[in-house]
Symmetry: C2
DNA sequence: TGTCGTATACGCGTATACATATTTAAGCGG
DNA sequence: CCGCTTAAATATGTATACGCGTATACGACA
């Protein structure tokens, strides 16, 4: 496992929460490497907008304000709905089967540690037929930024059943080629995620 | 001027075109520094999607396919129109004055080296009242990726007068609060940019 | 007692040096 | 003459070392 993945994981699982100062020296010692690869990893994470680097003063895990979270969720709505619309129009039988499979898979992973990854796997599978790798990577980045703040709050479980129901209905619209319906469901799905996050993080 | 800015400038002005291999050793020697800051700069540029790093094999300036350019321009349309719509609704008299000023300024810079920067200054000024810094930075990144391929082709001048006319009409709709009209203009403006770029780059 | 100045320590930025992987070219064989 | 193997050269990845800035803590002074 690459160094950058280890550090990212420690942030996303809540081990290093928002605002945590990440010392190059400490990280180097902890992972048994020199500071150079640590610097590379931190800069890569800065590129993902997971940490921010204050020149000469080190790196820290990002802290998002309510406004910034609003912007991120608005962007997600804009970009993910566009992806879903394109994907719904282009998805073939194989894509439909993949979506059904990921729906089952994510249902099993719900409420378990690392459900974020499973949720993203599900959504990404839906978006994949759109053929928009860059848009997909931007969305992934935005989602990851949210996870930084969602980590440690596994207590979103109360909403889990509703989320799974959303997913089911989304797949139904997806396989039926009902793009408008699918986007409508996704829209409210993302808004619900925003409300759930802000209710626990603010 | 920071090292990363120097290297970025050499790419954006066409000095290092798409596909150019960027040697750490050469860049270090050329700028009179060691390879460590060069590595940092290259990774920062990779984060901006201007260069791609092939592990163990060095860095090269990105080369975008027609599909990737299509995706970028679709994303720009989606994100910039959303920004303009929000900004039009929120812009006050001061913002209107700023827009008028930038219109004049970008008109003077047209057809001159570095007109990309002036064009972006103009558009950014329009978008600023939307209060969406992250969305703005994503758009800037997408635009910069395009400039990598547009650099060296100053010959887009044939379209310059049309572009300036687009800008004028856009500002007019902007100050009148006509969001739909402004977005419609911007939409065709971006599509025209895409056609101009693909006609010279492909 | 509070505040400012100084000294010490800690951490980042960078240069140098070494290890490893890739590329290239030369040499050998078919 | 072409292709494969091998070895030297070159470039990247990483470790170590040093210079510099910043932060903190202690002490002097108001």
């Amino acid at each position: 496992m690459a160094l950058v993945d280890q550090i990212r994981a420690s942030i996303l699982n809540g081990e290093s929460g928002p605002g945590t100062v990440l010392s190059q020296t400490d990280l180097a010692a902890a992972h048994g490497v020199s500071r150079i690869p640590v610097r590379d990893a931190l800069q890569a994470l800065a590129a993902e907008k997971i940490v921010e680097i204050l020149p000469g003063k080190g790196a820290r895990v990002i802290t998002l304000s309510a406004d910034e979270l609003d912007e991120i969720f608005d962007l997600r709505t804009l970009l993910e709905c566009d992806l879903l619309r394109r994907a719904t129009a282009l998805a073939d039988a194989k894509a439909h089967a993949e979506a059904e499979y990921m729906l089952q898979k994510s249902s099993l992973e719900a409420e378990r540690p690392g459900w974020h990854a499973g949720d993203w796997d599900f959504h990404r599978t839906l978006y994949l037929p759109a053929g928009r790798p860059r848009q997909l990577s931007i969305v992934e980045e935005l989602r990851t930024s949210c996870v930084v703040h969602a980590a440690g709050y596994a207590g979103l479980a109360s909403e889990t059943q509703q989320w799974l129901e959303d997913h089911r209905r989304m797949v139904q619209a997806y396989v039926n080629g009902a793009a408008d319906e699918a986007c409508k469901l996704l829209h409210s799905h993302i808004i619900a995620a925003r409300n759930a996050l802000t209710s626990v993080a603010m």
